[in-house]
Subunit: 236 residues, 2 copies
């Protein structure tokens, strides 16, 4: 099993760094290779723009998806995007490791998604959700929050965690064809004692060791929808 960890935290002493380091050693100890994209250290370009195409199909009007498709075919996609796509192709498991900022991905990681998940690679030609370009792979979110778990419960002030993660888990990971494993959420590590932080890391280690037994989140397959993207009447 080959794992790609896409990691978006600048501080090497952070809890996110500790989680990333734990996952690397946990898998490597079992003989499973791990590749880490340390986006801050790579100074990854986070903003999707016209510079992502070495040649522009249409220089007068930037239509991103059409440029992506053309650049995939012509081999004119920016080199740093191609490198990340090669890492994804080689992976069986993809982990996004990040602090939940403003109830979503930090811009650095959102930009990795915006730029790397190109049309013609991650989706396109009617292939998305369970038919997406990264089909056959598993993906998992590993994140930290500022607030306590109660504030992310069904009656929590921030809204239920699965609702907050829906656009990422369903709209990004599953859209690209990956089976989405239950996320690992470390709630409020900044408010924990050293002992409690170690216990949280131990809980993460057990989650990682059980990764083969985790059931993917239950999302409808593409075939359940009509051509306008509505759930078929016999399934509602």
């Amino acid at each position: 099993m080959k794992t790609l960890i896409v990691y978006a935290h600048e501080e090497p002493h952070s809890f996110n760094a500790a989680m990333k380091n734990l996952a690397v050693s946990c898998f490597e100890e079992q003989g499973h290779p791990v590749v880490v994209s340390d986006l801050y250290r790579m100074k990854f370009k986070a903003v999707a723009d016209g510079e992502d195409f070495l040649e522009r199909r249409d220089k007068s009007y930037l239509k991103r998806q059409q440029e992506e498709k053309a650049a995939m075919e012509l081999g004119t996609l920016a080199h740093d995007i191609v490198i990340e796509q090669e890492k994804l192709k080689a992976a069986d498991l993809v982990i996004l490791q990040f602090p939940l900022w403003w109830f979503g991905l930090p811009a650095m990681l959102k930009g990795w998604v915006d730029r790397v998940m190109t049309m013609g690679f991650a989706y396109g030609g009617g292939k998305h959700y369970d038919q997406g370009g990264l089909k056959g792979r598993r993906a998992m979110l590993a994140l930290t929050t500022g607030g306590p778990e109660t504030s992310y419960s069904d009656t929590g002030i921030n809204g239920p965690m699965d609702r907050i993660l829906f656009p990422i888990q369903h709209g990004i990971l599953y859209f690209c064809g990956m089976d989405v494993l239950p996320p690992f959420v470390a709630y409020g590590p900044a408010h924990l004692t050293g002992e409690q932080r170690l216990a949280e890391l131990e809980r993460y280690r057990r989650h990682l060791l059980a990764v083969d037994t985790l059931e993917p989140l239950p999302f409808h397959p593409l075939a359940h929808y009509d051509e306008r993207g509505r759930l078929r009447a016999d399934l509602t």
Copy 2:
């Protein structure tokens, strides 16, 4: 009424650009001043990192929120962040204008949120949601999608639009204290004829002209929750 439009699209011929231009002319014709933050043209720095602080409180361990709070007090926040905060302070209405990318904000706009909405400015000291730092202002999302409206309906393959926008409308705009007006969503403008695009812009113009009469989305106030962020038992 002063409006700030934060605009995140690179292409001046795009439908997003047309929506932004329409909003500017619509408000200015009524004598209402408009300020536009054209993030791509400004080459806005989208990635939150240690460079955002002219002096670091703790050089050995980057804790972002603590650096933000200290930098607010000492006046050592990066100049481009301070400029955006001044625009927010002066605004009565804030519009985020963007293409929905991967069911969220483009990294450029997410980075604007990550960097500009600092602790001590947009929230902090127990002040968030209806008590947030930008209290008294209204905010509204104006966005375009790739897919048709049916695919964002209650039984739509992408999930209901209000569920997709929840982390942005509730988790960003409302968290900072702003009243969130119903969003304007232009579905799949790339698939429309020229005539249909003009009709969509006319629909947006009517939305903008009615902005004073729109009811904010109904979210619970902070006082409805206990100290652990759970809805008070008498309200569930």
